[in-house]
């Protein structure tokens, strides 16, 4: 990737010594030798194994549970049901009490197939598994609701008693004058979409090891999570304990992708079983439990109305979303909110209206999966834009250029783009596409999709209105640095980014940094890894903390150098020196020793913090760009071959080009899966493909090569000008692919997942339509 460490900062060219340099993963040696310990690899002496008994019904009253036979089974230490739990309800929207709707074990009724009703702890996993068969539960099945539109009827079955018509959350966004906007439009079209659910499929399933200390009454939990902070807060609520008595440790995490934000029943029940038995308890989900009972990308209905001028300028846009929320809230309400925002990016939309509703239904619930809010919504908006462009005879890349925003663009009351490279991205794309794909074969097409995504959401629902991050840096006598933060490396490479930012700010090397991340006991609070927030938010906190120490070193250096003029001093290459006279300076190590001696031996410390204020409703900064995919369609089988991908990306100042490329490659892989093969077909709430045999994921032979070009900008809100590089590029993959198929054979799609049968059907429909009417639809005025 292009960034070379040179970036314009307030008009001055700054040469970084670490930022922008390809840097191997600091966790590399542990991960390639198998020494990296994931929660699933951990055991404790005298440990028990827990298993959960789950509901076979999507919606049913629990009449009775008889656990006696299971309790008598040799090796079983305890069996618990809902009445044995502390009974605290929890959720990530804690400030909205009624949305804290999760519970350890179902008490009155079950709300989806897989809702846990009892938990067993036994000496082996096999005994625990067998004991489940001996628990007798009597259910009274209730009518279930599975479709979100059915769910909001007056007489629909209620998933939660306090929510008539199953309305879990609503969202309205409006700016400009939408009705006037449409009145001015030369061209208006309406399209209705149905989007499929998809599962994050982390390779490490949800699993937890909980150990309760009888003496102190405190709990320690190791769990595979994206946010030790969320888990600590939620566990305390679920167990009715003080947060400070719950220590959450995040070991290496085998994949997150948004599916490991919520605190799940593995975590809470392992804790309860440990508290009741006084022994460590481990619960590991099977893969089918992972598929059927953990959070996924929400299925939804989206309706769009688009108004354009003849020249392709957008004058009005209206979006409606109804999401199939499932049994609980998770971060699903946030997804609903963000859908209404990301669907507009990165385009100038003078008049806009959005309405969304998230419904409770009797299926496992949807949440904040990678690119949340953007993935389904961009699929609809960008495929609709291509149809409009075709009707108006405008080139699909050109219509995106015409409407792309400029730096400083503000969506009234919603969001503002400070750094913004979308226009140069599109220009670069236009040039590169001509070189890369000079001519197309028969049934080949190129599809485009513009995109933008947040660099961390500014919102928080636990105990502050705004998201925040903090970090603590301690410099020892020998110059080594201990960095403490709860920021979560879940594979995205944040540990490496954190070390790079800390080292750059102090002017030292990565080898000087010791990381102490993701442990609530000693690491300073960070909300965790979601919404591409760690680089910007945690990065700012680390830079702040390290900066405080750098200033101390500079002050001491200034005194020791005794210059008669107050030259600027910089910390770089393990020295502190005069910026304009680099030969005049002092060693970082000597300065640290002096500072600590002068401080009675107390190490140098800095505690940094970041929280965004007055940055709109969404995020302080946005990564953005444009993607092109070249695809070939087999008209006889309906097979779509994603042949080649080109993406031009503005990620501000890239911190680690190696990691940034990894994020883009991985996002596109998951995005293509959303567009081609990943789906969660259900029958009356029963998932039909709960194993990798039937849930299709792109393998290496299915992956096209990906060319990534950068348009570096400087983001004033980010550390060293950095911003999002992780999630933006997942959303454009599926729509760019669908647009490529549309360009190749004219087939139109109003849902994702271009399975061959669907594509073949769409091709046939197109051929019928061409016979019937030569003119394309969309009513011009």
């Amino acid at each position: 990737m292009g960034a070379d460490g040179e970036v314009r900062e307030g008009g001055i060219m700054t040469e970084y010594s670490i930022i922008g340099k390809p840097t191997p993963n600091v966790d590399g040696p542990a991960k390639v030798t198998g020494e990296a310990a994931y929660t699933i690899d951990m055991t404790l002496p005298n440990m028990l194994y827990g298993k959960l008994l789950r509901s076979p019904y999507p919606h049913a009253k629990i009449l009775s549970i008889d656990t006696s036979k299971a309790e008598e089974f040799p090796g079983v230490k305890i069996v618990i049901t809902g009445k044995d739990t502390p009974g605290g309800k929890w959720g990530l929207w804690r400030r909205f009490r009624e949305l804290a709707d999760q519970q350890a074990l179902a008490t009155d009724k079950v709300r989806f197939i897989g809702d846990p009703v009892a938990a067993v702890a036994a000496t082996t996993e096999e005994i625990a598994e067998k004991a489940l068969d001996l628990i007798e539960v009597e259910y009274e099945p209730l009518p279930g609701v599975f479709d979100p539109i059915e769910a909001i009827k007056d007489d629909a079955p209620m998933v939660h008693e306090d929510f008539p018509s199953n309305i879990n959350a609503t969202r309205h966004i409006e700016w400009g004058n939408v009705d006037e906007g449409f009145a001015q439009a030369d061209y208006v079209r309406e399209d209705r979409y149905v989007l499929e659910a998809a599962h994050p499929c982390a390779m490490e399933v949800h699993n937890t090891l909980a150990s309760y200390d009888k003496g102190t009454g405190r709990l320690t939990v190791w769990t595979s999570t994206g946010s030790p902070y969320f888990v600590q807060q939620n566990l305390a609520e679920a167990l009715k304990m003080r947060e400070g008595d719950v220590r959450v440790i995040k070991p290496h995490v085998g994949g997150h992708y948004g599916g490991k934000n919520s605190t799940m029943p593995d975590c809470v029940n392992a804790a309860i079983l440990s508290m009741k038995t006084g022994r460590p308890v481990k619960i590991v989900f099977n893969r089918d439990e992972e598929f059927t009972t953990t959070e996924h990308r929400t299925a939804q209905h989206i309706a769009l109305k688009l108004g354009l001028k003849k020249d392709g300028t957008i004058v009005a846009f209206e979006a409606k979303a109804i999401t199939n929320g499932g049994a609980f809230t998770g971060l699903g309400a946030t997804t609903l909110f963000l859908t209404g925002t990301f669907i507009t990016m990165p385009y100038r939309i003078p008049n806009y209206r959005y309405d969304g509703v998230r419904t409770y239904t009797n299926i496992v619930w949807g949440t904040s999966i990678r690119g949340f809010g953007a993935v389904p919504s961009k699929y609809c908006a960008e495929t609709q834009l291509d149809r409009a462009a075709k009707d108006l005879g405008i080139d699909p890349l050109e219509i995106r250029r015409i409407n792309a925003v400029a730096p400083g663009y503000e969506a009234p009351g919603q969001y503002k783009f400070e750094s913004c490279g979308i226009q140069p991205c599109i220009e670069k794309m236009a040039v590169r596409v001509k070189e890369k794909w000079p001519k197309l074969e028969k049934d080949e097409g190129i599809g485009y999709c513009g995109f933008a995504y947040m660099s961390g959401g500014i919102f928080n629902w636990i105990d502050t209105p705004y998201a925040y991050s903090s970090a603590h840096v301690k410099v020892n006598f020998d110059g080594t640095v201990d960095l403490y933060s709860q920021a979560a490396d879940v594979g995205q490479g944040h540990n490496t980014v954190a070390a790079m930012i800390c080292a750059e700010e102090l002017g030292i090397g990565i080898e000087d940094i010791r990381l102490h991340m993701g442990d609530t006991a000693h690491a300073y609070t960070d909300l965790g890894a979601w919404g591409s927030r760690e680089t910007l938010m945690n990065g700012n906190a680390i830079k702040d903390a390290a900066g405080q120490i750098k200033q101390k070193l500079i002050d001491i250096a200034r005194l020791k150098l005794g210059e008669n003029i107050a030259y600027d001093l910089v910390a770089k290459n393990k020295r502190v020196y005069l910026e304009l006279r680099p030969e005049r300076g002092l060693s970082y190590y000597d300065l640290v020793k002096d500072a600590i001696r002068a401080n009675d031996g107390v190490p140098l410390t800095g505690t940094g913090h970041y929280t965004p204020h007055n940055k709109g409703m969404i995020s302080p900064a946005y990564g953005m760009g444009i993607m092109a995919i070249k695809a070939k369609v087999d008209r006889e089988t309906g097979h779509v071959d994603a042949q080649d991908v080109l993406v031009v990306h503005d990620s501000g100042q890239i911190i680690n080009p190696l990691g940034a490329r990894g994020q883009v490659e991985g996002s596109i892989h998951m995005g293509l899966g959303y567009g081609l093969c990943e789906e969660m077909p259900m029958d009356q709430g029963m998932l039909l493909n709960p194993e990798f045999v039937d849930y299709k994921i792109l393998r290496t032979r299915d992956m096209p090569q990906i060319e990534i070009l950068d348009v570096p900008t400087y983001e004033p809100n980010g550390p060293f000008g950095a911003k999002e590089a992780a999630e933006a590029t997942i959303a454009p993959a599926a729509p760019a692919l669908a647009n490529a198929v549309y360009q190749a054979v004219g087939a139109e799609f109003f849902s994702n997942v271009l399975k061959p049968e669907k594509v073949l059907k769409a091709i046939k429909e197109k051929e019928q339509k061409d016979k019937a009417t030569p003119k394309a639809k969309g009513k011009g005025k």
Partner: protein, 184 residues
């Protein structure tokens, strides 16, 4: 009824009495405590659990341990030479060929068995070899590049020292007992 298992793992010979239903991965993870070999599915679909048995990459989650009686197993823990990483491991680090790292052991072991028989593979040949592996993070391309890079490193290394690989006497002995049948 428990049965005897004689197995050589990473050059060390072990002797266990196990339930016949025990899978190879259970011997590796639970009995030997080698946690570098991971499991990510229950349907023999993901290859995260790949280890090398008598030179061939296999899925340890789908094989009865007794069927490996007398054979030589190499896991990720057996790849590095003391504190020196194997060239494939180093190539995975230098090419950012993993993110969460959970499927990495299986990927590296499959790459090892592959490069032993095809020291100079093309992108397409690597894709054919590695197609059984699910990776949810990397999108596969950077893994493919790491394997090509590793091939170059290995060629350079082997050019330096030309010595045929010596099978340990121990493993030859177990191989004999295996041929004599009965699987125990």
């Amino acid at each position: 009824m428990k049965r005897e298992l004689n197995i050589v793992v990473n050059g060390e010979s072990y002797n266990f009495f196990i339930e016949p239903k025990t899978l190879l991965v259970q011997v590796i993870r639970e009995m030997l405590g080698m946690k570098g070999t991971h499991q990510a599915c229950d349907s023999s679909s993901c290859a995260a659990c790949t280890v090398i048995v008598d030179g061939k990459a296999v899925k340890s989650c789908s094989i009865l341990a007794l069927q490996v009686n007398g054979k030589e197993v190499t896991t990720i823990e057996g790849l590095a030479d003391g504190t020196n990483l194997h060239p494939i491991q180093q190539a995975f680090i230098d090419n950012w060929a993993f993110q969460c790292g959970f499927c990495t052991s299986g990927q590296i072991m499959a790459a090892k068995a592959f490069l032993d028989e095809n020291p100079d593979p093309t992108r397409e040949e690597i894709q054919m070899q590695m197609d059984g592996h699910i990776c949810r993070c990397t999108g596969h391309n950077m893994i493919n590049e790491a394997i090509r890079d590793a091939a170059k490193r290995l060629q350079a290394r082997d050019a330096a020292k030309r010595l045929p690989a010596q099978k340990s006497l121990q493993s030859q002995k177990w191989a004999q007992t295996a041929k004599s049948g009965k699987g125990a």
